[in-house]
Amino acid sequence: MPGLRTIDEQDVIRLVREHQTEVWRYLRYLGATAELADDLTQETFLQLLRAPYEDRGPAARAAWLRTVARNLFVKSFRRPPFALAELDTIEAAWTGFARDDEGQESLVRLRSCLEQLDGRAREVVRLHYEERRSRREIAARMSLGEDGVKSLLRRTRAVLRACIERHAEGA
């Protein structure tokens, strides 16, 4: 809603609905819990609506919102959760995943890639993400060390990421 001067209730709702998914996903990506992501997403929009802000369209607004969200997330820790030097990497990884649709397409592809998993990779995803088992429990069930579970999860995610990218290139 470029050029907007005075906003009414419907504008606020539209604005929030337009960007909330990306802000929330971005906060989860940074490492916020779901509850913290809820609170910080809300605070991010309040800052946008309260602060003097020159609106330059949806893309600039989205970038502004991500910056505010990231600052709020960092402020919620006593010590910064990541180094400032990492900011470029953080942004690049996010935009690579979210592209220009808040990550919606990547999620759809991820679902399809998940179906292609089998064996231990499929099992570890089920135990960790679906059943929310601790690493120790998973290690016991799969006869692995806890470090082994960590490595298996990471390898599985790398496979999934590669699969998402293959789909994207083929699209």
């Binding site: 609905r17 779901a34 809820d38 690049a92 996010w94 991820l110 993400y129 679906e130």
Partner: protein, 558 residues
């Protein structure tokens, strides 16, 4: 794939398995409306440099607006700085409970110091740099953050104020004060902490402020109306009726045997060294309040276990009673009873025995002569042990805390064995010994001030948090921190019992840990501090800091 690519897939997998983005539009709208009851804000162009700051705006959410109408408890303001950024400032009600407190605030006209005497209630701007001072021992209440006791020559400076947004309500949640000089102790319903010069005190506001204060508002209104009515009645009767004679107290003849006489204001268990100060404690009040508070504390933990929430009325009642006990704290501290921290004095055998006698008397279950003699003997011998522990030098401060805790545990147990079943039930209501802080006759009153619950997944997770904290406290470099971590991890792995029982809602929300957790964690921490000292090359300054650590990191398994 780098770490952040990995995180993106991780977050997406969590989302596919249930963690969905919510629709927050209603919450945002609600928060905006609460902030500004008029028309909604505008999206404006950037402020031009040199533009004058906007006037103070009340930004507050419903909770704080209601608070302002109570007794000026506290309010939040958003202040636009010349740079255009907003600075939120909380106005916290400062009530002086005992002694004198000086408030120093930065105002446009310069630094303004205001001396406040007992009974004063003012709004204190909790803005970084503003200060509170005491020349002599003093106690005060800082709005929703609870009571503070300032030792003589103490000076505190506001370092920061943190805000949270919960369900659309902006609220001041944590007030951090730097202790410039002296010693300060903070007490609230669920937390307590002591900090000395050079340390920092983080005071957390009581949760659910809005509903509790609405109820408190209503209660105070009713009380004012009631007092006004009483005043009118008294005025009328004073002018109409002749002065009534003073009631005659019949002096009963002392029987041969020692009677079951009620304990009133006098000190029952005395010590010439502390007689003056103990005589200044209002033991009747201590007894009445403790008797009333004990079952409520048990009720509190029961309510948390059942519903996961603190009933607001119950929280208010406990907080009010607690404030009355805290009002006696300066007198107790003036007595100079030896002990670890301020609650060390509160749990000193001499204080405990008098408090117990007053509580039982208030319940109509006074100690008989045999019990008094037996407990007097225990008080004498344990007071000697207490003094000896206090005088004995230890390598680590935590060793001193542990030794005193174990001694007091034995004292409470010995005293309890002298009580009748009715007396025991009155002092230890069912369920009141399950959690630290849920009973006023347990040494956990002393230890919980220093316990710091750390929610963790397992021993390795605990090692990570503990070594980070230790690294921060001691100023360790990355390599040394890693070494500390491996020591803590290997020692934590040898204590699986610390990670066996998952933390429950009472522990995580009320910070009332299950009985036994803190002492077990303290023992382990002393062991790993010793091992760190042995294996890690620390500077003399770091060794000094290590020895004076007082926080006990208590693992709270998720």
């Amino acid at each position: 794939m780098n770490d952040w690519d990995d995180r993106a897939v991780d977050a997406a997998l969590h989302e596919l398995h249930g963690s969905k983005p919510p629709d927050l539009s209603a919450r945002v709208l609600l928060a905006l409306r609460e902030a500004s009851p008029g028309r909604l804000p505008e999206l404006r162009p950037k402020l031009q440099p040199g533009r004058s700051p906007r006037p103070w705006l009340i930004l507050l959410a419903a909770a704080a607006m209601m608070l302002a109408s109570v007794v000026g408890t506290w309010a939040l303001f958003a202040h636009s700085t010349p740079g255009g950024s907003e600075e939120r400032i909380a106005m916290v009600e400062l009530a002086v409970l005992d002694g004198s407190i000086e408030m120093v605030e930065a105002r446009p006209e310069g630094l303004v110091a205001t001396a406040l005497a007992t009974g004063a209630r003012v709004a204190f701007a909790a803005r970084p740099g503003n200060r509170l001072r005491s020349r002599a021992l003093a106690a005060g209440r800082l709005g929703e953050f609870g009571e503070v006791t300032l030792q003589a020559q103490t000076e505190l400076e506001v370092r920061s104020m943190e805000f949270t947004v919960k369900n659309g309500v902006v609220a001041a949640s944590v007030l951090t004060l730097s202790v410039v000089a002296g010693v300060v102790t903070w007490h609230s319903l669920t937390r307590g902490e002591t900090a000395a010069a050079g340390e920092v005190l983080r005071m957390e506001a009581r949760g659910d402020a809005a509903p509790t204060l609405v109820a408190e508002n209503e209660r105070l209104r009713q009380r004012v109306l009631e007092l006004e009515r009483q005043n009118e009645t008294l005025q009328t009767s004073r002018t109409a009726a002749p002065k009534a004679p003073a009631p005659v107290v019949a002096e009963t003849a002392a029987p041969e045997e020692k009677p079951m006489e009620p304990v009133t204001a006098p000190v029952m268990f005395d010590d010439p060294k502390f007689a003056d100060a103990l005589g200044k404690v209002d033991w009747r009040l201590v007894g009445d309040v403790t008797k009333e508070m004990q079952p409520l504390l048990a009720e509190l933990t029961a309510a948390m276990e059942k519903d996961g929430e603190v009933p607001p009325d119950l929280a208010i009642k406990i907080q009010q009673l607690n404030s009355q006990l805290v009002s006696q704290l300066p007198a107790i501290l003036k007595a100079g009873l030896p002990g670890f921290g301020p609650n060390g004095a509160y749990t000193h055998p001499l204080f405990v025995a008098n408090s117990l006698a007053s509580t039982l008397a208030s319940a109509g279950l006074s100690l008989d002569a045999t019990q008094r003699d037996a407990i007097a003997g225990l008080v004498r011998s344990f007071s000697v042990e207490n003094q000896s522990l206090s005088d004995q030098p230890r390598e680590y401060d935590l060793e001193k805390l542990l030794a005193e805790t174990e001694m007091k545990e034995r004292f409470y147990s010995e005293v309890a064995s002298r009580l009748t079943p009715e007396q025991y039930a009155s002092i230890y209501p069912e369920g009141s010994t399950d959690y630290d802080g849920a009973n006023l006759f347990r040494p956990s009153l002393m230890t919980r001030v220093y316990s710091d619950a750390v929610p963790v997944k397992d021993a390795a997770d605990f090692a990570r948090v503990a070594s980070n904290r230790l690294g921060e406290e001691l100023g360790l470099d990355e390599a040394t921190s890693t070494k500390v971590r491996s020591i803590v991890e290997s020692m934590a792995a040898r204590s699986p019992e610390l990670f066996a029982t998952p933390g429950n809602v009472t522990e995580s929300k009320l910070h009332m840990l299950r009985a036994g957790r803190t002492v077990a964690a303290m023992k382990q921490q002393i062991a790993f501090l010793r091992e760190v000292q042995r294996q890690v090359n620390l500077t003399p300054e770091q060794q000094k800091k290590l020895a004076s650590l007082k926080r006990v990191l208590v693992p709270l398994p998720r």
